[in-house]
Amino acid sequence: MKRTAKQPALGDIQRLMFDCLRRPLTKDECLQPRTARGRSTADLVATFIKPNDRLTSFERLELYAQQYWWRLLGSFSEDFRGLRAVLGEKKFDRLALAYIEAQPSRSWTLRNLGERLESFLLAHPAFTAPRTRLALDVVRVEWARTVAFDGPERRPIHPQKLAGADAASVKLKLQPHITLLELTHPVDRLFAKLKRTAQDQSASSNAVSAARASRRARVDVRPSRAPIHLAVHRVNCSVYYKRLEPEACILLSAIQSGATLADACGVAFLGSKKKTGDITASISKWFATWTELGWLC
């Protein structure tokens, strides 16, 4: 084995190769012919990758670049099917490329690839215009689905323990897999519609082209007149949506923020014109449901 006097540092080789393969592919899904600084990519790649008798250095690296982009775009597309259906194929693909280029994966798991999508869309509304508000709602729900799918689950509080608790001092917690959302569009219904569309398509002939299928899958939904409060949660390993009354959502948010039970109930009905009896009945009903669902811990 030869020990050569001076080799490029391992970190430098890895950084150089990674920078090359992360450059977005051309429309033909090839490596860009020029680097970001205008240098010939082929010349640059030839400085660190060997050619063989069948492939140039450029072609060998291209295999890795294609795998990188196909894998990340595929994962992103899987995680945001609703957004894809709302935006349509072309617009979604442009967004996916821009997002991954700007916000590459910072986690060992692709599960987290979309965690910064909401903030990216807020900063770059042009990618979703004119349906930015709907797109944001959809992304919030789709990320909440990811959290609900495999988020932690604590031991739920026993109803008897809850019944005997001192509301002025007891602080409950919400299951970590639950996300509470306030939406401007009925995204839960949009997903139900999307699911039906997908089922209809899967039952049809597979002779339909992919492009045609994607046009069929595009869905729309009108804004709601009033905000929609939605809990995205998990029961028996399945993810569900549950609509909440506004006060119930405030109450749960307060619990999530660490308020005592009494304070959470108080803030939920602050300024409410409801009768005390009605408020008590609502709270009793909600807590019965939430404990049954195992939401409180």
Binding site: Q7, S105, R106
Partner: protein, 284 residues
């Protein structure tokens, strides 16, 4: 024979990779399977269906963990958050050893999610061995490192792939997960003789063997895990078993996954080459 310090004394025969399309069949029919290999990252979560299924599998079967994102060959040190989650899963599964790849995959905290090939340099030997030792010390069970299928080679390389592998495992004092399909794929892509590869590695360190299928393109082979094992790969497997003795063997099938019975039958073909348990002793 499989029971060495690199397998924590366990003697495993033929197993298959646990894959989602087979969950229902396995849980319902409870087929007799030597052991299952799981992809660690699929279960390094804190709740949900994956862990629920895993717990049911663990009630019936032996499980060995295989990872895809530790990136032993990174210039930087292993990710501590990843290690903590991995250790938690190891406690849950009771895996006697765990494996991951001889590759790199992230730079400055940005991840490729790919198994990228190593430049075979002395600096890479040292850093990779350092990272494996760190993982092994932290997790507390033997680690086996798997050779890759690769599609590129570096001008900077100072040794062959098998020399690199041998140097790394000796310095890290770890086992080898020998993927015989990867040897074949790389031998075609980089034009070397698989027999040289087999002859150049420390056989006593081979803790496990992987079998898989690949796809053939005009100018290269791609490690796709979507076909049965081809004859040249069985030939390499046969020679590997002759050299290493009875070794835990695992079939990977990750795409275009056929029925459980088809995958299992393909894996069981390996038994033809495996000596019976405890038929031959191997120093470790």
């Amino acid at each position: 024979m499989a029971a060495t310090r690199f397998t924590a004394g366990s003697d495993y025969g033929v197993g298959i990779g646990l894959r989602i399309p087979h969950y229902a069949h396995i849980l319902e029919k409870k087929p007799v399977v030597g052991w299952f290999e799981i992809i660690s990252e699929n279960y390094m979560c804190e709740g949900g269906r994956a862990l629920a299924v895993l717990d049911q599998i663990l009630e019936q079967y032996r499980v060995v963990q295989h990872g895809v994102s530790m990136y032993f060959g990174n210039s930087s040190r292993p990710n501590r958050d990843h290690l903590r989650k991995l250790k938690r899963l190891v406690k849950r599964t009771g895996t006697p050893w765990l494996s991951d790849h001889l590759c790199w995959g992230s730079v400055d905290g940005t991840y490729s999610h790919d198994l990228l090939p190593m430049p075979y340099t002395w600096e890479a030997v040292e850093k990779t061995a350092r990272n494996i030792r760190e993982v092994q010390d932290f997790i507390g069970i033997p680690v086996a490192v798997e050779n890759l299928s690769s599609y590129a080679e570096f001008h900077a390389s100072e040794m062959t792939e098998w020399e690199f592998l041998a140097e790394v495992v000796e310095r890290a004092d770890c086992g080898i997960l020998l993927d015989v399909n990867n040897i074949y794929v790389s031998s075609i892509n980089h034009t070397f003789d698989p027999r040289d590869y087999l002859a150049g590695i420390p056989h006593e360190r081979v803790a496990q063997i992987h079998l898989a299928g690949h796809s053939r393109y005009a100018k290269y082979l791609l490690d796709t895990h979507d076909h049965p094992v081809c004859d040249p790969v069985w030939e390499i497997y046969k020679r590997a078993i002759e050299a290493c003795g009875r070794t835990a063997t695992l079939l990977e099938w990750d795409d275009k996954i056929p029925s459980f019975d088809e995958v299992h039958a393909e894996a069981l073909k390996a038994e033809k080459y495996l000596p019976a348990a405890k038929s031959k002793k191997r120093a470790a």
